[in-house]
């Protein structure tokens, strides 16, 4: 924690142009004080042992019961949980706020792995709409395809889909990285505010529509650009970062990142007039 004091506000990511939004002066901004770290208690977290492993068959369980059982197993110290027969059920594996190896042997429905902070999740199947919504930290790997709104509003972590994803991937995302091995649908990166999206395949229409900030890298064809999404120069730093990230993601390790396109916000939309919402109301 002590190191946090030494972190400068101008980070390498900013230097690379991956985000450049000016935060100072924002009325709603609150900074974490590392001196108070010992006073923070993260409700609902457990100390788990990754070597303590168990299976959980959720075939005849409701989503609520399955989530309660996962919570119960974590409270007993299980750090590796294998979920059997998820069979497309919705809202499984949500609200996990500690480190955990969570493995799904099958596919998930909607809202899987929502609002998590820390687990490493592997899904040996497909996921439905809004997978890993609001992810704070951790790593989620999907072996097959994903539905729409993949990684909506994530704040951090790595979200990886080895197959293709639906529309509005990374909508409203505020941090973290989304990596797609296949194609992505329309409105990818819609209104994204920060973070990075990597798509190795093609992407649909209106890419990066109304994006505030953040970066999108595309390896294939782009259907069309959304409002205010513009091309940017792919730097050496970008390429190094892409190579490292694809290796971690277990996909596209040999992908020629030098040919990728980099898309950022043109920052010509109304939200870049430096007025806070309350100030805007006053101006109107």
């Amino acid at each position: 924690m002590a190191n946090l004091k030494n972190v400068t506000k101008k980070t390498k990511a900013q230097a690379m142009g991956m985000h450049s939004e000016v935060l100072t002066g924002r009325t709603q901004q609150k900074f974490f004080n590392p001196d108070e770290a010992e006073n923070f208690y993260y409700f609902g977290t457990y100390d788990v042992d990754f070597n303590k492993r168990t299976d959980l068959d959720v075939k005849d369980m409701t989503a609520a019961d399955a989530n309660k059982e996962i919570d119960n197993l974590m409270s007993q110290g299980y750090g590796t949980i294998v979920i059997k027969n998820p069979q497309g059920k919705h809202s499984i594996g949500v609200g996990i706020l500690n480190k955990l190896n969570l493995i799904f042997e099958g596919s998930l429905g909607y809202f899987g792995i929502g609002s998590c902070d820390g687990p490493i999740v592997r899904i040996n199947g497909r996921v439905g709409w809004s997978c890993a919504e609001n992810l704070m930290a951790g790593k989620v790997v999907i072996e097959k395809n994903a539905g729409s709104c993949f990684g909506a509003a994530i704040r951090g972590g790595d979200l990886i889909c080895k197959g293709s994803v639906g529309a509005r991937t990374g909508i409203d995302m505020k941090g973290g990285t989304i990596i797609i091995g296949g194609d992505a649908g329309a409105f990818t990166g819609f209104m994204m505010q920060r973070g990075r999206i990597i798509i190795l395949g093609d992407v649909g229409i209106n890419l990066g529509d109304s994006m505030y900030d953040g970066t999108i890298f595309v390896g294939g064809e782009i259907g069309s650009y959304g409002s205010d999404a513009v091309d940017a120069e792919l730097t050496k730093s970008d390429q190094d970062w892409l190579k490292r990230k694809l290796k971690v993601a277990e996909i596209g390790e040999n992908f020629d990142v030098s040919k990728m396109k980099k898309i950022v916000a043109g920052k010509k939309l109304w939200n870049y007039d430096n007025l806070e919402p309350t100030e805007k109301k006053g101006a109107i």
Partner: protein, 314 residues
């Protein structure tokens, strides 16, 4: 919200009534105001099967006005007399419920427009479907209730589409329930999930061209829109592709004919659809759990992209 499901067996027949019931029941949380089935059964293809209603289900939750059964009887008598008048011969008659009937009819004319107009000129009578394979069954309640009420479990056929409805744009009644018959085309049916925002503009234009609407449900527009395109010589797939720009709003819809099943998704991909495709079976639904009800083993599924149109043959 609504849920839709569909499946097509390629090269064989199966208990599609039972299979679709499982798929729609898995989607019942998306709406159970009414449920509808469009089943394409195995028939000898000689006679028409006409599913029609002479009244509404006025059970709990219905927005329809109660009528005496004697009114239904009177309407049925007029239907029978009109059929005789038009040279149609009733081969088999089933009165499944006081207000819901199934006729097997020998009728040799190909143009069903005049036929349908005549039958539907009787107040309170609506043809739910007309075809040599298609049977549209729709009523209030969830998939299991409707399936049991109409004994659909044993129906054998090649393909089917269905709809679990949460009523938002129009009343809770049979006339607003899906699927919609692609009037006046034999064996064409449509189910839809979404909202169409240029319904009235399109409806006025289509009515001026002589097309018929039975409800005020926006989804009916898709059936009528496609029927009009096909009337003017377009293929089903061509009509579906045109609908991507001709229809405004958010939608995913399925359309089925005697030997094919198609899907279309709007250009914003705003409504969900999960698809499973193999050499002998295509199954699709608003959520994966619909497909899992008939294929519990691990399978590869995907979401079709925005503006995608696909058609499969049996």
């Amino acid at each position: 919200m609504c849920g839709i499901a569909g499946l097509i067996h390629r090269g064989k027949s199966s208990k599609v009534g039972h299979e679709l019931q499982g798929m729609l029941q898995a989607l019942k949380h998306r709406g159970e105001d009414s449920t509808g089935y469009a089943l394409y059964g195995d028939t000898d293809g000689k006679n028409f099967i006409m599913r029609f209603k002479v009244g509404e289900n006025v059970g709990e939750g219905s927005t329809s006005v109660a009528e005496d059964v004697s009114v239904y009887d009177e309407r049925k008598k007029i239907v029978d007399s009109y059929l005789l008048e038009m040279g149609a011969k009733i081969i088999k008659e089933d009165r499944i419920l006081p207000y819901s009937l199934r006729y097997e009819i020998e009728y040799n004319k190909k143009d069903l427009l005049e036929f349908s107009q005549k039958i539907e000129s009787i107040p309170g009578v609506e043809i739910l479907s007309m075809g040599k394979s298609l049977e549209v069954i729709k009523d209030l309640g969830n998939a299991k209730m409707v399936c049991e009420r109409y004994n659909l479990d044993k129906l054998v056929g090649t393909h089917a589409i269905g709809h679990a409805r949460m009523a938002t744009e129009s009343g809770v009644d049979i006339k607003s329930a899906h699927p919609f018959w692609g009037y006046p085309f034999s064996d064409v049916s449509v189910v839809h999930n979404g909202q169409l925002t240029n319904y009235w503009n399109n409806r006025r234009a289509l009515e001026n061209k002589g097309m018929r609407f039975m409800s005020e449900c926006d989804s009916e527009l898709i059936a009528v829109y496609l029927a009009e395109k096909m009337r003017d010589g377009a293929s089903l797939e061509e009509g579906m592709k045109e609908s991507l720009t001709g229809l405004d709003g958010v939608f995913t819809y399925f359309v089925a004919t005697k030997d094919s099943l198609g899907m279309a998704k709007d250009t914003m991909a705003a409504k969900p659809l999960v698809l499973y495709e193999s050499d002998d079976l295509v199954a699709m639904g608003s959520e994966e759990i619909a497909i899992r009800s008939i294929l519990p083993q691990e399978i590869d599924t995907y979401d079709p992209f925005d503006g995608e149109v696909k058609v499969w043959q049996i």
